[in-house]
Symmetry: C2
């Protein structure tokens, strides 16, 4: 059995990271490689060199699929978004066949939607792979969350992405605790517990907006009502609680089924706790597994 | 008439700036001096040298009052907050007599409150001077706003600060547009107009939280629904609209009287426009004038 009949390659090529998988027909990773070589840090020669190096590592490895910001206007070539509702067949047929360095590559489009609940546009590039994998893994309907720097909350129907919204609460947390007013009151990481849940409750309540709630963290520390060791937990709670209020406001099916959470495990655990406090059950799904199955679904549709 | 009978000195000594006024008995500035010499950038010798230099510039100038972060744990000496309700007499009696370098100085306390609407603590150091000045200038009751990096919304009764909340929306704007996702879509300053007011309306509506609304600015630009030249206006609108929703939710007297806005003129003009869209009339009050009158009121109470 020659490798080129049975294997293929999936690459998550985002703004800051490059993650490649050599994948077998069963969807399992045979080998994998990652590097902090996102498109933002590379020019075109750098991107070409990266793909050539991958081909040298995995010769005759079958078709190559690349998702993420590689398909944006700061990537190799801009691939128009697929319009939601979009499923795996839509992504497979809209994938753009091109060549990066000496390597033929299918660049997977992202997805755009116009949201039913507020008419606003939203966009994703990269997360669609995990969402497709999730459908393969058994969750084809309901709402799901991909916690991260820019958390996606999406609604699926029969494996297709119907609509979604993005919250940049991860980036807000990172930037506001790295420098400035809140940096001086934060000591240590966020952790689950009563202080985190107090933040979640305040965020969900929406009596005050995030700009006001976040300053409140500082005032609590100054007045001795919050320790610096707990400040990150409280602030994360405010941000995650606000997001959950958004999700429950716009997705009326909230809480009818387990909500899959895909992403960094520590962060997903915080989301799970916050959702539980809101009466919503969730389950953690391994991000890498979802990604591998997403690429496998795409490959089967593109090459059957 | 010797100067030392009639003049006095007011110093706003914040985290990043030092602003000093030589003030006559009528509250007008005879001379003034400012420098980017906030307490964060100075050690104790640096603070002492700054005050000695001021005394050399204005010899025999009468009592010296200093407000702001100079009275915090990163300043010269920590002065406990006055507890709200707090008026000028409370601040005058709680001012701490000390010596910075060779200069006798009264350090004015900030104000803390426990808010009636959510039981949370809040704090200010420095803004209380302008609020006291406002009372002298004729606004002793109602709610007022001091737009800035950390905007204060306060409720006054008979010239006393009853309670207040702080929104760090100015800092959120600054940090999120300086680096990261939003930095790449912002070209130019925020300005009043339809796009700004669209942001205000979305922020006030509270259907979605700020973390989600802010990502929406990015999605709009990517999808061609918002120009980079207008992005700052939209983002500022979201943040200011959210604050106004907070103020209207917690201060039931909203809109019954003109709301004084004290601060940077360009920023206050945006707040005025956003308030007008919410049916609330406002008036711009010169920050420097309010500050001079605040110090004058304090001086009269301390030395009558």
């Amino acid at each position: 059995m020659s490798r080129d009949d049975k294997t293929f390659v999936g690459v998550n090529w985002g703004s800051t990271n490059f993650r490649a998988y050599l994948i077998g027909a069963d969807g399992a990773a045979i080998d994998e490689y990652s590097a902090p070589a996102g498109v933002v840090s590379l020019d075109r020669d750098g991107m070409a060199a990266k793909m050539d190096a991958l081909a040298a590592r995995w010769p005759n490895s079958g078709p190559v699929y690349a998702s993420g910001m590689i398909g944006s206007n700061v990537g190799w070539r801009e691939v128009p978004y697929a319009e939601a509702p979009a499923g795996c067949a839509d992504l497979a047929s809209a994938a753009l066949a091109t060549q990066i360095g000496s390597v033929p590559v299918y660049i997977v489009p992202g997805i755009t939607c116009r949201r039913s609940f507020d008419g606003a546009p939203d966009v994703m590039r990269g997360e669609e792979i995990e969402m497709m994998g999730l459908a393969t893994l058994g969750t084809a309907d309901g709402w799901i969350a991909l916690p991260g720097t820019h958390t996606k909350w999406a609604r699926l129907e029969r494996g297709r992405v119907i609509e979604f919204f993005t919250s940049m609460s991860g980036e807000i947390f990172d930037r506001l605790t790295a420098q400035g007013l809140l940096a001086s009151i934060v000591a240590g990481e966020a952790h689950d517990g009563p202080v985190f849940l107090e933040g979640v409750a305040a965020g969900r309540a929406r009596r005050l907006s995030l700009g006001t709630l976040l300053f409140g963290a500082r005032a609590r520390v100054v007045r001795g009502a919050l320790s610096k060791a707990d400040a990150a937990s409280y602030i994360r709670g405010l941000l995650i609680g606000s997001e959950i209020a958004d999700a429950m406001a716009v997705y009326p099916t909230a809480g009818e089924a387990l909500v899959p959470l895909i992403g960094n495990r520590a962060l997903c655990t915080l989301y799970a706790s916050a959702l539980q406090a809101a009466g919503v059950a969730s389950e953690l799904v391994d991000s890498r597994t979802a990604c591998l199955h997403g690429f496998r679904s795409l490959h089967e549709l593109r090459h059957d």
